[in-house]
Symmetry: D3
């Protein structure tokens, strides 16, 4: 019924726990407090993050897969979990020294680490979604935002 190869989106979820703090060093203490509220508390607070990586591509007839899950799991482990889990993002990861670790920026930062590792294959990164809590998530689709 389908003549061209079917394109399917596959989404894999992983989890990590980290501390972070919202702070812009170019601003006064008052301004930081006013804009970021309790997220500016000096020692940071933390979350159980859920990150969802969506890959799109043709289904390989031999495997029935767009991508082998072990490949995504390996990339997620190396680029996200092993770097961020049980860490204080601002204090321990260089990329957050000069960038506020908001949910939005985390989505972009995770995209930037994962997307290059999927280049050249039959599938490509479609979306990174990161949930900071059950009530807040951010999604980044790369430069081709819908």
């Amino acid at each position: 019924m389908i003549s061209t190869p079917a394109q399917v989106h596959v989404t894999r979820k992983a989890r990590f726990s980290a501390a972070h703090r919202y702070h812009n060093p170019a601003w006064s203490a008052e301004k930081n407090r006013e804009v970021f509220g309790p997220c500016n508390n000096p020692f940071g607070h933390g979350h159980n993050y859920e990150v969802e990586v969506t890959v799109v591509g043709s289904v390989d007839p031999a495997t029935g897969m767009v991508i082998n899950l072990r490949e995504i799991d390996k990339i997620l482990q190396e680029e996200v979990i092993s770097r961020m889990d049980h860490r204080h993002l601002n204090e321990e990861l260089p990329e957050w020294r000069h960038r506020v670790p908001t949910t939005e920026n985390l989505a972009i930062a995770i995209w930037e680490r994962i997307a290059p590792r999927l280049l050249g294959g039959y599938s490509r990164l479609f979306r990174v979604r990161i949930c900071e809590s059950p009530d807040l998530y951010a999604e980044y689709f790369g430069e081709e935002t819908p």
Copy 2:
């Protein structure tokens, strides 16, 4: 790595509990019962609704944010929660006098109240999703439906 400002989608979830009834006054009792089934029961029934508001825009480098969550929370509180929570939609809100409060219509009605409040800013409303139960939700993307 990203030359044009990154567009990120941010989604905020809120909850309210309300009663409603499906009824079209232009129809006979039989037709109402036939089309709407138990949703037509005269005194109404109710749900724990979850509403998700998705905003899209560029990330402000100073804050790392597309929009300050307090702004979305204030809009959700004023336009959705304070009006709908602990209410019988048909009996207490004028907009449901002549419109069936289905999940579909709720998605549109919430869009219509929220979208104007986000005009003129750097971000815009992308989607309203409303879940009536774990097994049913409706999504409205405005006139630019994908």
Copy 3:
């Protein structure tokens, strides 16, 4: 390793959606409003209720079961779902004319309807839990409260 027949607790979950209102007719409008807050709104509001019924008994070696799930499902359907789903509890069910339909009272009322139907069998009702929202539930264990 187990000489006496093993006692196992089996829990079955069901869902229904209903409207209700908290109101004590013996009180003034002010007192009702003061005690019950928005739960006293005149036309009621509603919830997606989850009810969990826990039965305890010996495992029958022939079936591996404490009770056949179809039996619990039939009781839940007849005593809870068919009576309460898509109903306004105060307006449509006689037992709520003179009893406030709080989560506590719902737990007791469901126990009273289900417990007698399990008498005489090899298992007995152990607990009724009812969740009004993800953040509130009540549990009733009959007269042998732990």
Copy 4:
């Protein structure tokens, strides 16, 4: 405020439990084991699947609905639940004799069964999403993949 009829996406979720096995008969036992890992175990394993069907269309002003849920429920029951629930997909359904029952292929197969049943109405199938576990899901949008 909306001149053209509003397009709304409605999503309905259903559940089924099934066993499956990943195996390509054209390959050696070693290659199957290497590619599919424990998913290749000879007797199969199983999952609680969640399938979400999203339909898009204009809201009928008389009903407030894009499609009557009973219609979707009937299609889901006939095409998915009654065929797949409590089955071993590879052993009992002919379409999986020569196709690996991955999450990707399940999404396509469910689309192929449901999409024709929605032709000619006012709404059309937009997406089939199937979740094999809380950490993995696949989505198929037909030939018009976004």
Copy 5:
């Protein structure tokens, strides 16, 4: 404020996916079908199981722990996950040759494997809960059932 050492219950959750079939070889095909319904389908079906292990004991003042989670994780991995995950219980595990793999029996069987490994320590196994689906779980408390 607490003079005797505080007793705390700690619960750890793990997940596995398995296939199973309900069948009593002492019965006729008709009787099996009548009692077990679709759970008797010959090739089996499957579930994503969640198993919760609850341990109770005094909190060690030096660690703040009742038991080191790595110890529970190791026991769960060896006794449950590595044996049951991605398996067809009836076909691949000897203990299910002559015992119906119901949720009740799974709770007992997991207790029997885990409880001896916790003997002699400062904490003891209090409960095994196993969820076959979001709507069904069984709990076993050993011979001291509450």
Copy 6:
């Protein structure tokens, strides 16, 4: 049907986000690392905590309630949320200077703050449950542990 006043358990859930670190200053760095693993990372990490408070008591016939939820909400806000939310427990709360902020100790500490506020009323604190992640929770029942 019930002659003695029915005892019902009511459970209220609240959420907070905090950072913490597991560290025993009486131990060497090696021993801390060995026992606590990545939980000993120097700057801490964090979680979205869910705390459930269960109160037991007789249902007041006038209100249908064991306790007015606003009362529990006020206690939870004052004793838990306002103190712990968006905080680094070790760095900002005196009680964690000399106590490891494990899930076990958090359950006890929250009990100690909440139980006295419920003394003298018609209901009493029955259990504090705190979930650090979807896969780990601790429960404290006071000195009358079941």
